[in-house]
């Protein structure tokens, strides 16, 4: 499958072309070049998937295919390779990334129309897509790290796309530095992994892994910290809500569907190692996920900026995927990986797939709304359903999907996750069910706040909201179709923990519970928020003002970080070091120079040229020598 190389090369070429030409070509031409190359990539990805999944299974699993692998940089006994690895999860990710990316490319034609730097925008989109594709097809952990850094930079560039607004500059900086901080742990993890296991590769049957087994839990947990940074897990999630300063299609692509699931993908990629060598350490993954899911859902319930609500919802949903990976258990009957015990793996990947589609849909829908009312705040919205019918319907479907209502795709994947959680521990299972209820609640609060409720007549008076152009609504419709049918994909046949085909069974007790919970939450949200006036919401707000305030301020975590970075790092580390350098270290050398100067001043009198003085000293000297000799 040599043609897979073009999946990486095409976006790279389009990045270089658009980046170098920049404003020398027209905006439309730039958009067409970017979209065409992405279209070709999408076709190639689908073709790859078709060819890969229709190939014969060997011993019940799809074989790994490595069309390319070259040594990029030798590192002593180790080597840093670059190549392409096709296996079920990487092929699945190719589909997700290329689909969402193509939709975003088309959508951006409408959304970014007339923006300054349109060409640059498409160049960065290509760069991002190339990096993300490179990340998922990596043949070894170091290649993954390389592209991991590249997606970080493209995310930085795209968040800071509106580089004249201070908020965007701050947000891009924050996103990069927070993820970089986490990446440092990832890097140390890789170093430990490489040193003890004698390989950076993903061929886990090699002998080195058994030899390095005692260090693997440490290495894996360190890498997980890196993944937690990228996937915005608590407490490293703070960059994601701010990242919403970027253009909305970028939020859909990078901060909802693809880059932020890199952490989940990383754990899935190293899953055989986790389950075999570090099953205890997976508890950390579970609890980090549980805390994040709950925290983010709680914050999402009170935010007023629609993109922030969606951002917290993304954090919460990614946490679902993390939890699902964490709750996998080693097989009981000798086999290390057992599809039943590791149901969470399949569920996590399934949720990754469905979530990418409906969350991209939600963000793109939000983009249409922002495009129509020129504001992110819910106070500027309300009653938009009659102006924007297509956006309304697609948004509603996405909300139903994320809330877990059958037959939309989110129901199926979330149900598998809850089943896996229940199997692991009822405590985790019930907490996650509770979070699922909160999800349904805040999503419908958002939905009613945008499309129902009181219309902001004052704002609409001089600017009537209108439906978005076709370039923007077409991707919405495509993603809606996927959301409608994705749940019925026999996902276990393609991706499963052991690689063998696995039939998804709905556990009806879990399914019924989650449906009931979701319906109740939606009903509650309808009761509170659907009317033109919202007495219950106001009463709740008045009854618990402090709780509302804390949640709205995201429990003041940003302030804590601000304090740590500015007060501690700048004021108590950097400034003293800089002072020490100028005054103590440099002062010492200046002192040397000063001392030399003074000393020469002091002794220059000795060389005055006065013969009498010379004679005096001469005589004194002789006297001293005589005295010494006598004594």
């Amino acid at each position: 499958m040599e043609y897979t190389l073009f999946i990486l090369l095409l976006p790279l070429c389009s990045f270089l072309l658009l980046g170098l030409l920049d404003s020398k070509i027209s905006k439309t031409a730039a958009g067409i070049i970017g979209t065409m190359s992405l279209g070709a990539v999408t076709l190639l990805s689908y073709f790859t998937a078709f060819e890969y999944f229709t190939a014969d299974r060997v011993n019940g699993v799809f074989e790994k295919v490595v069309p390319y692998n070259i040594t990029w940089l030798p590192l002593g006994d180790l080597h840093f390779d670059m190549g392409i690895l096709l296996d079920p999860i990487s092929v699945m990710m190719l589909i997700v990334i290329s689909t969402v990316s193509l939709m975003v490319h088309i959508y951006s034609f409408g959304y970014m129309k007339g923006e300054r730097g349109f060409q640059r925008y498409y160049a960065f989109l290509s760069l991002f897509t190339m990096s993300m594709l490179g990340l998922v097809v990596a043949t070894n952990i170091f290649q993954m790290y390389l592209f991991w850094e590249l997606v970080g930079v493209s995310s930085y560039l795209l968040i800071g796309f509106y580089y004249t607004t201070p908020a965007a500059i701050a947000a891009s900086k924050k996103a990069f530095i927070v993820t970089r901080f986490a990446d440092m742990f990832f890097l140390v993890g890789i170093l430990i992994y490489g040193y003890y296991c004698k390989s950076f590769g993903f061929d886990f049957n090699a002998e080195g892994f058994a030899a390095g087994a005692f260090m693997l839990p440490t290495a894996l947990v360190l890498m997980f910290i890196g993944g937690a940074g990228k996937s915005a897990m608590f407490p490293l999630h703070i960059w994601l809500p701010d990242a919403m300063e970027g253009p909305t299609p970028v939020s859909a692509l990078i901060h909802a569907a693809t880059m932020v699931v890199a952490g989940v993908f990383q754990i899935a990629r190293l899953f055989p190692l986790w389950i075999q060598y570090a099953p205890e350490a997976m508890t950390i993954v579970v609890w980090v996920g549980v805390i994040t899911a709950f925290y983010a859902a709680a914050v999402a319930c009170v935010q007023s900026d629609i993109k922030r609500v969606l951002a917290f919802s993304t954090i919460s949903q990614i946490a679902f995927m993390m939890v699902a990976l964490g709750v996998c258990l080693p097989g009981e009957h000798g086999a290390v990986i057992d599809n039943h015990a590791s149901l969470g793996y399949m569920a996590s990947m399934f949720h990754l797939f469905t979530h990418a589609m409906f969350k991209a849909l939600l963000f793109l829908g939000a983009g249409c709304i922002i495009h129509a009312v020129h504001s992110n705040e819910m106070s500027a919205m309300g009653g938009l359903r009659k102006y924007m019918p297509i956006t309304h319907i697609t948004f509603l479907i996405a909300c139903l999907a994320i809330a877990g209502i059958p037959p939309f795709s989110g129901f199926f994947s979330k149900d598998e996750i809850l089943t896996a959680c229940m199997h692991y521990s009822p405590v985790v299972g019930w907490i996650m069910t509770g979070v699922a209820a909160m999800t349904a609640f805040y999503m419908f609060r958002l939905y009613f706040g945008i499309f129902w409720g009181t219309e902001n007549k004052e704002l609409h008076a001089h600017h009537t909201p209108h439906e978005a152009p076709l370039a923007m609504t077409l991707p919405l419709m495509v993603l809606t179709c996927i959301t409608l049918v994705a749940g019925f994909i026999p996902f276990g046949h393609f991706v499963s923990a052991s690689g063998e085909a696995y039939d998804i069974h709905l556990d009806w007790t879990v399914a019924a519970t989650s449906i009931v919970v979701a319906v109740v939450s939606i009903a509650l949200a309808t009761y509170i928020y659907a009317g033109s006036r919202q007495p219950v919401a106001e009463k709740l707000h008045d009854a618990y003002p402090r709780l509302h305030r804390w949640a709205f301020k995201r429990f003041y975590l940003d302030e804590v970080y601000q304090f740590v970075t500015h007060r501690i790092i700048f004021a108590y580390i950097s400034r003293p070091i800089a002072w020490f350098d100028r005054n103590v270290v440099d002062g010492f050398f200046n002192f040397l120079a000063w001392g030399t100067h003074k000393l020469s001043h002091a002794i220059r009198g000795l060389q005055s040229g006065s013969v009498q003085l010379y004679a005096q000293v001469f005589l004194l000297g002789i006297l001293v020598i005589i005295l010494i000799l006598i004594m």
Binding site: T71, W72, L73, P74, L75, G76, L78, F80, F142, L146, F147, E149, L150, V153, Y156, G160, Y163, T164, P166, I169, A170, S172, K173, F176, I177, R180, F181, D183, M184, L187, V188, L191, I192, G194, Y195, I569, F570, I573, S574, R575, I577, A578, D581, V585, D586, F588, F589, A593
Partner: protein, 504 residues
């Protein structure tokens, strides 16, 4: 003899250039001489690299190729002996690139253009001479030739507190030279006082007891130039005051002389002492790496930020050398190349921006992206290279160093490596702070609104450097092989004397 002539061309070309500059009558003739000369040097450096790689591929296994010697001063056995291995070839190539781009970066320099280029050429002669020599005394002499012009270049054509900085830089480096000279003569007499040739001394060996004395002397002597903590303070002042091309050459190449000398003389000739005393310097370099990065975070002058960043990155060079294994040392040389290119690019850009805005204070600059898009985009690229973006040179060098450093077992080494790793985060902090402050946002200074973007000569020099940074970052394999070939014999020499340090 043919070999001597071949390698000596690197010294002859600058000599001819000096003659040409002396005869030149106007600015255009000066520029003509400079362009012709630096192009010839670059072409020759590329030819040398190609020939070297070709000969290695053809099976030449000698440690140094193209060796030759002419007796110079019989009583002290001083010879002019030349020879190159992978490391020196890489360094020569780097120097040629920097001299070439530096010429274009100082295209519009005034006044005293002719005199400026005379000293600049003399400086580059010293640098090339240093890298082709394998005789300790000849190396020392060329080292001094490279140092002296610096005083005048900063003192006359510099900016800010230029007299103070020039004096400080020269005196501190001279202080290092004094140590170095003691060290070199110590080694010479210890090794039997029959030769100054490094290869011969390495075969002969230096008495163990005396290694404890000469190793710190030579290491500190070269370390001063390599910005070893606490002898680095000349660097911020010196770089801040120096004119653009001089900063480029100094940070890009001259600081590499330090790392190169530490590796080739101090460690190669005195392996036992390197093993036993290395930990002291390892701690110092570990401090340099983090200390430089943190200091850079709060600076307000563009050149100070970059100078402290250089302290951090050059600290990483010495740090990796002291790890004493092949991967780390290859990484060290890669880092020298990468830092040389990257920092030259940075200083060039800072020089161009300063030439327009007449200020380097980041509090007075903002929103330059709209005003000078070309320079600003290049600045972002330089910044990203500095913080180790994959695809540019910094990533390759840093990763090689970290993987190499991790090969050393023992908590001591692991801890230091992890501490050094933290610098990549701090680097991101100061680079992004800088980029956010001066390039992004809207321009608030009305005097800056009508400034123009880069001229053709500036563009040319910047594009050349970016191409090199990207080239090294995208296809590091051949450079890494080239360097590894030079590093291996030195590591073999070091491995003969593995002695545990007290921390293991």
């Amino acid at each position: 003899m043919e070999n001597i002539l071949y390698l000596s061309t690197f010294v002859f070309i600058p000599l001819v250039m000096l003659l040409g500059l002396w005869l030149a009558k106007n600015v255009n003739q000066v520029r003509g001489v400079m362009v012709a000369g630096s192009t010839a040097l670059l072409a020759l450096a590329i030819h040398l690299t190609a020939r070297f790689l070709g000969d290695r591929a053809a099976g030449e296994t000698a440690e140094m190729l193209y060796t030759g010697a002419v007796s110079w001063f019989e009583p002290l056995n001083i010879c002019y002996s030349v020879g190159v291995d992978g490391i020196s070839v890489a360094m020569i190539l780097l120097s040629a690139i920097i001299v070439f781009t530096g010429t274009f970066a100082s295209w519009q320099l005034k006044p005293l253009t002719k005199e400026y280029f005379l000293w600049f050429t003399l400086l580059s002669m010293g640098v090339f001479g240093f890298f082709i020599s394998i005789d300790m005394f000849a190396m020392f002499m060329f080292y001094e030739i490279a140092l002296i012009p610096m005083y005048l270049l900063i003192g006359v054509w510099g900016s800010g507190k230029k007299e103070y900085s020039a004096m400080k830089l020269t005196l501190m480096l001279m202080g290092g030279s004094a140590f170095l000279m003691c060290g070199i003569f110590g080694i010479y007499f210890d090794a039997g006082a029959s030769t100054m040739n490094i290869l011969d001394i390495a075969k002969h060996g230096v008495a163990l007891d005396n290694q404890y004395l000469w190793f710190p002397m030579t290491f500190v002597g070269f370390g001063v130039l390599g910005a070893l903590f606490p002898f680095h303070t000349w660097s911020p002042d010196g770089h801040a005051s120096a004119p653009t091309a001089v900063s480029m050459l100094h940070a890009g190449v001259l600081m590499k002389l330090g790392g190169y000398g530490c590796f080739r003389i101090a460690m190669y000739l005195m392996p036992q002492a390197a093993h036993e005393l290395g930990w002291i310097f390892l701690i110092l370099t570990g401090i340099s790496v983090v200390y430089g990065a943190f200091s850079a975070c709060v600076q307000t002058d563009l050149k100070y930020i970059n100078a402290y960043s250089s302290v951090s990155h050059c600290g990483l060079v010495l740090f990796a050398i002291l790890m004493m294994n092949e991967t780390a040392c290859t990484g060290a040389v890669l880092q020298m190349l990468s830092h040389g290119l990257m920092t030259a690019l940075f200083f060039a850009l800072i020089g161009f921006i300063y030439g327009r805005t007449h200020t380097r204070d980041i509090r007075e600059l903002s929103g330059l992206m709209r005003i000078m898009p070309f320079l600003s985009v290049c600045y972002v690229i330089a910044g990203l290279a500095n913080l180790g973006l994959p695809g540019l040179s910094g990533f390759v060098a840093e990763m090689t160093i970290f993987v190499g450093s991790f090969e050393n077992t023992g908590t001591f080494y692991t801890t230091l490596t992890i501490i050094a790793c933290t610098s990549i985060v701090v680097t991101a902090v100061y680079i992004l702070r800088l980029v956010g402050k001066i390039l992004y946002g809207t321009c608030t200074n009305e005097h800056h609104l009508h400034l123009t973007d880069a001229t053709w000569d500036e563009r040319f020099s910047v594009i050349c450097l970016i191409a090199c940074v990207a080239g090294l970052g995208i296809a590091p394999l051949w450079v890494s092989n080239l360097i590894g070939d030079g590093v291996a014999p030195i590591i073999n020499q070091l491995d003969k004397f593995i002695v545990l340090n007290p921390f293991m």
